[in-house]
């Protein structure tokens, strides 16, 4: 198993810049998520680690060894493709043995290894079937089997659950995570599904437009987004942005929103101009008394909670509140924000302003 370091990696396809200088480190045994909307460069990054694309510049270290210009066969990295890419002319057993045969492993050893892996994945009874007739889940298991069978240094997975039905996906993601915990293998996993990333990942890199926006644990990324893009991309519904114009001093603990002074974490940098007050829906509560008010537009019932959409002087806002609490459409209610959880952004740069809340995260982000 291995530690992977990405340093200033960059990839251009002709005039198109797919990945802008990116750096991050994947620790040994980590389940690492590359998250971002389609076309953001996450798959290209994954393919560069695996060797299917060569970076235009920058270095990739696998266990301290620079591998960025080596062919994939020399890297000892396994790859699980979104479309599985099982060899269609071979049966399940041959698909699994393919990577072992290429290493020149003796036959008896190959057989034992396949027994072991098919046992782990529960595909013993389909070993002699052609891959064409398998169900989506079984194909996924065979694709995983082909990856784990040769004990590679690291696994690359390119949206491996993308081709499965929603129902089965849930099940498979648990299986995947359990498999990872059992083998403790360094895994890099590409997804555009923020829920999947939060659920399964030890660490997440959020990419957008070829740039790494933020790198951290799911909690860090959710609680202290470094950019407005991350704040918007993570969470459902996403973070509310209340836009306002004003000035902030270094050390401020309150901001002036439409005449109301709202508490925020202690600011560590001054700013002025177009600013954004970012608050997660679950950090908004409704009450009778208060000076910052909004009008209820719609309510969505979600079982234990409900999502209330409100119209405020600084734009639309969604609040996640207990479903026991009543909210009537058209009602004018007071809004309270959980001050320690607020993030302020500079709208022109899209970056979070440094505060006592995100100080540590932004320092190395």
């Amino acid at each position: 198993m291995a530690k992977i370091e990405i340093k200033n990696i960059r990839k251009d396809f002709g005039d198109f810049n797919a990945v802008e200088k990116s750096s991050f480190t994947i620790e040994d045994g980590e389940f690492f998520m590359l998250l971002g909307p389609s076309g953001c460069g996450k798959t290209t990054t994954l393919r560069m680690i695996a060797g299917l694309e060569l970076p235009t510049s920058g270095e990739i270290y696998l266990d301290g060894e620079e591998i960025s210009q080596q062919p994939p066969s020399k890297r000892d990295i396994a790859f699980v493709f979104q479309m599985f890419a099982l060899y269609p002319h071979l049966n399940v057993r041959k698909n699994l043995s393919y990577p072992l045969v290429s290493q020149g492993m003796p036959r008896s050893q190959v057989k034992a290894k396949i027994e072991e892996v098919s046992g782990i994945l529960g595909i013993k009874d389909i070993l002699n079937r052609p891959v064409g007739g398998l169900s989506g889940g079984d194909r996924q298991r065979v694709a995983l089997g082909r990856a784990i069978v040769r004990d590679p240094k690291a696994f690359m997975m390119d949206e491996p659950l993308g081709a499965l039905d929603a129902e089965f996906r849930e099940h498979m993601s648990e299986e995947l995570r359990a498999l990872h915990d059992r083998m403790n293998a360094t895994t890099v996993y590409v997804t555009h599904d923020q829920l999947e990333a939060m659920q399964m990942g030890d660490k997440i890199v959020v990419m957008n437009n070829a740039v790494v926006e933020q790198f951290g644990t799911p909690q860090q990324i959710y609680d202290t987004p470094a950019t407005m893009f991350v704040a918007d991309f993570i969470g459902s519904p996403s973070m509310n942005f209340l836009r306002f114009e004003g000035a902030l001093e270094n050390g401020a603990t309150r901001v002036d929103l439409n005449g109301q002074m709202l508490a925020v974490p202690k600011q560590l940098q001054g700013a002025s101009g177009k600013l954004v007050f970012g608050v997660r829906p679950e950090h908004v509560s409704l009450s009778e008394n208060g000076d910052y008010r909004g009008k209820v537009l719609t309510t969505e019932y979600l079982g234990t909670t409900q999502i209330i959409t409100l119209d405020t002087p600084n734009g639309e806002l969604k609040a996640r509140i207990d479903s026991a609490q009543t909210a009537t459409v058209g009602e004018n209610v007071a809004l309270n924000f959980e001050a320690p959880k607020i993030t302020l952004f500079d709208e022109t740069t899209g970056l979070a302003l440094r505060s006592s809340l995100n100080r540590e995260v932004l320092a190395h982000g």
Partner: protein, 312 residues
């Protein structure tokens, strides 16, 4: 089961479709059957009017095809009674067998030139098609167009330059010359057909093989080739059929050592006119290799082996 299904045709429409297909097959097979039957007729039966469908079969045509014969005096015939069954057949015409005909040699030429050029076309075509399909080649579209442009006129239109060129190069009436010629004509078709087939094979398979520790060439050889088998088989059949049946260039460029069967068969002259049964026998034997080749590759033509392995 319900009586109506969207995917399953009704028994009546199946029966109707089946009848149509059988009827069409029968009609297309009539000339073929006629040639094969004529090969077993006697010369007089072959030209009788109205045509005979029921006749007494004889191997005369085949004997005449494979032998050369001479007429002999009654004294000579009486002194040398026929020994073999085929000698008896020619004896009816007061003839004896002088030796084998050139048909065997010509047929072998056809096999060498036909299969040789097919192999060469497929070999070069597959490599070129793979390169066009997978690699970034400067001016790839223009090159593909140039390759195809060799098919934009009938090959025979350039017969005279080719004839002169071959005479200069000493390629006239050689096996190599004919193989090169047919390969040249076939290769554009092969590259285009095979490129289409290889384009259809998802890149992920090769990438998976690269990841699994194989080199680019191994990935091509072990993963792409088996999946392109269907395309290779059908392209090979097209190439073989062209090279095998080609007549005009064969007449023009070959006369002896490298002459193929098509220009040879019409030269079979019998006693007092064209020996139709011998010609028909030659045509029948000539048909067989392509038929066998097609039947052998039929499995690949019909089976969509990549079905279902990649979810689309």
């Amino acid at each position: 089961m319900s009586s109506f299904s969207v995917t399953e045709p009704s028994a009546r429409s199946k029966w109707f479709a089946g009848t149509l297909v059988i009827l069409y097959a029968l009609i297309t097979m009539v000339p073929l059957a006629w040639i094969m039957l004529t090969g077993f007729k006697s010369p007089s039966d072959a030209i009788s009017y109205p045509p005979k469908i029921v006749f007494e079969p004889t191997l005369e045509g085949y004997v005449n095809l494979f032998t050369t014969r001479t007429r002999q005096t009654p004294e000579f015939l009486a002194a040398n009674p026929p020994e073999k069954w085929y000698e008896e057949i020619v004896r009816e015409y007061d003839m004896v067998i002088a030796g084998p005909s050139k048909f065997g040699e010509r047929f072998l030429n056809s096999v060498i030139i036909g299969f040789g050029s097919t192999f060469l076309s497929i070999f070069l075509g597959t490599l070129a098609a793979y390169a066009f399909s997978r690699f970034k080649i400067p001016l790839a579209d223009d090159l593909l167009f140039f390759i195809l442009s060799t098919r934009m006129m009938p090959p025979i239109a350039v017969a005279i330059p080719i004839f002169l060129m071959y005479r200069q190069l000493g390629l006239s009436d050689t096996h190599l010359g004919m193989i090169l010629l047919y390969t040249g004509v076939n290769i554009s078709l092969a590259v285009w057909l095979l490129k289409g087939f290889i384009d259809e094979i998802p890149l992920e398979y090769e990438e998976a093989a690269l990841i699994d520790g194989y080199t680019r060439f191994q990935a091509f050889y072990k993963v792409v080739l088996p999946q392109a088998a269907t395309g290779i088989a059908s392209t090979a059949i097209f190439c073989l059929i062209f090279a095998w049946n080609e007549y005009a260039f064969a007449v023009l460029l070959t006369s002896g050592t490298a002459q193929t069967a098509p220009p040879f068969i019409p030269t079979i002259i019998g006693v007092g006119g064209l020996d139709w049964p011998a010609v028909a026998a030659g045509a029948t034997i000539f048909l067989l290799p392509v038929m066998i080749f097609t039947i052998l590759l039929r499995k690949h033509l019909l089976r969509g082996i990549t079905f279902g392995a990649v979810r689309k």
